[in-house]
């Protein structure tokens, strides 16, 4: 399996066989999570609704992991200047945005079913929403440049800026919510969980991690292929219509 080539000759896409293990791994992870979260006994208080946690919590953890990878890979790109790091950063950001969106959506379903409201302004939710838009902006930035190197540099700098900003955002939002009375609603993590639930939760997180790694493998491969296409299109010497026109010169001789 290749996550992405580093320097030197790119592997010929005509000859490398597409690796299928990531798809199988994702499928297995999905099935295992599904079975585990429906086999585990329901929570005493929240009954069947507790099962929502087994997708909500792993999605949140993996989203934060994905963004951490983006931050790290951005710094690595600025240091090593290798395009592989750029692809890793971008792929992780895309998957991170997807998982954050999922966390928010499932979180809203959880909130509506257990507390009766789609949204509350507690620190964690607000932070997650802000992170979502920070990395959505990162993706929008990448779409705005076609030049591979410029795109990589700009995204990496934004990725590193996020590293600097996120702790500030984190603390300011938590402090802001601390100044007001926080709503006395049960938060998922503070639910009293018995051993079976904890095990299932950890299993779900492990499966989501498997899914993330598999997804990353394929997404970075896609990034490598698309970068090759961009490079090829850039460097192609296509004849242009203007070549047929010869500039007139003084004296009549061309």
């Amino acid at each position: 399996m290749t996550i992405g080539t580093t320097t030197g000759a790119e592997s010929d896409p005509r000859q490398s066989k597409p690796s299928l293990w990531p798809w199988y791994a994702m499928g297995v992870a999905g099935v295992v999570t599904l079975i585990a979260s429906f086999v585990v006994p329901p929570d005493a208080i929240q009954e069947q609704l507790s099962r929502i946690l087994y997708v909500h919590v792993p999605a949140a953890w993996l989203a934060y992991l994905a963004f951490s990878i983006t931050m790290l890979a951005s710094a690595m790109y600025l240091w090593k200047k290798s395009m592989t790091w750029d692809r890793i950063a971008a792929s992780s950001a895309e998957i991170g945005v997807l998982l954050t969106g999922l966390t928010l959506a499932v979180g809203m379903i959880w909130g509506k079913s257990t507390w009766g409201v789609w949204w509350t302004w507690d620190a964690r939710l607000t932070l997650t929403a802000i992170m979502f838009f920070v990395y959505l902006g990162y993706l929008a930035l990448r779409r705005s440049t076609d030049n591979l190197e410029a795109r990589a540099r700009r995204s990496a700098i934004l990725g590193v800026l996020a590293v600097v900003q996120v702790p500030l955002v984190h603390f300011s939002v938590i402090w802001w919510r601390g100044l007001h009375q926080t709503p006395s609603l049960a938060k998922p993590a503070s639910v009293d969980m018995d051993t079976e639930m904890v095990i299932t939760l950890f299993l779900a997180v492990a499966m989501f991690t498997v899914m993330y790694v598999s997804m990353m493998t394929k997404r970075v491969e896609l990034a490598r292929l698309e970068d090759e296409l961009l490079e090829r299109d850039d460097s192609a010497d296509l004849p242009v219509a203007g070549d047929a026109v010869v500039a007139p010169t003084l004296g009549g001789e061309s």
């Binding site: 005509r14 292929l225 296409l229």
Partner: protein
């Protein structure tokens, strides 16, 4: 607490919604990555 009063059938609806949203999103995303990969490979093969 609201959920203590919710009938089990309705609870399953919410659980189904949560899992449906999760799995459909992930499957659709994986499928889009897969199709873009094969499209890119075809483009590269076809012209280079």
């Amino acid at each position: 607490m609201i959920f203590a009063q919710m009938p089990v059938a309705e609870q399953w609806n919410w659980v189904g919604l949560a899992y449906g949203v999760t799995y459909i999103t992930l499957v659709v995303y994986a499928a889009s990555v897969a199709s873009r990969i094969s499209k890119a490979r075809r483009n590269l093969r076809g012209e280079s």
